[in-house]
């Protein structure tokens, strides 16, 4: 009854509360805004299209760009990340898709 997740089939890590409270909470965390953006702040890595190791952390298994509500990236960094990923895809450092 409560567990019917027909709206949220894509997210496997959500808690059961999310359906009742209408909030998307990745990995069971209740309040996502407490988690800081991994690309902002001191000692954060610089977003560069030449760094596929950093960029693959923000891609799904199929090679698609993950939304910032999952990765907790700030909006500004998400825009830079998007440009960097698309450049890396152009130069064949990252795939467009890994789906057969």
């Amino acid at each position: 009854m409560n567990r019917s997740d027909d709206n949220n089939t894509g997210h496997s890590g959500e808690s059961n509360n999310s359906y009742i409270n209408n909030q998307v909470s990745p990995s069971g965390l209740f309040f996502r805004r407490q988690r800081a953006c991994p690309l902002s702040g001191e000692n954060s890595p610089k977003i560069d299209y030449k760094d596929p190791k950093l960029l693959t952390k923000f891609l799904s298994e199929g090679g698609r760009i993950l939304p910032s509500r999952i990765t907790s990236v700030s909006a500004k960094k998400q825009r830079q990340l998007k440009i960097a990923i698309k450049r890396a895809r152009n130069i064949a450092l990252l795939p467009f898709t890994t789906h057969q």
Binding site: D48, K50, D51, L54, N90, A92, L93, P95, F96
Partner: protein, 127 residues
Amino acid sequence: MAYYESTFIARQDMSTQDVQNLTDNYTKIIAENGGAVVKTEYWGLKTLAYIIKKNRKGHYVMIVSDAPYDAVKEMERRMKINEDILRHMTIKVDEVDLSPSPMMSNNSADYEIEGLGTKTVIEEIEG
């Protein structure tokens, strides 16, 4: 003058010496047209993320230059004509980092660097 970062992929059939000659050609073009090459990097023969023109691997070269637009435009035109170059991309950057790029510092098993090693030529920025 502005800083441009130009990356191109050469065919896997070419030897590293051929790729080196190709790189020298382009650095000469930039110098002739009034620019200065800041740094050249050879990332090696890497596996491409997808097949480009029936090639699975390619030689990656990056040239960072401080040049007027005409020099870069001429270089791009030649890259487009050259059949040995599979893909090229030039972007304009605000500032140049003289240290080796993240591609050079990685030693993970994901990379197949079969080239003759890493070649980073760092020259003085003029002006």
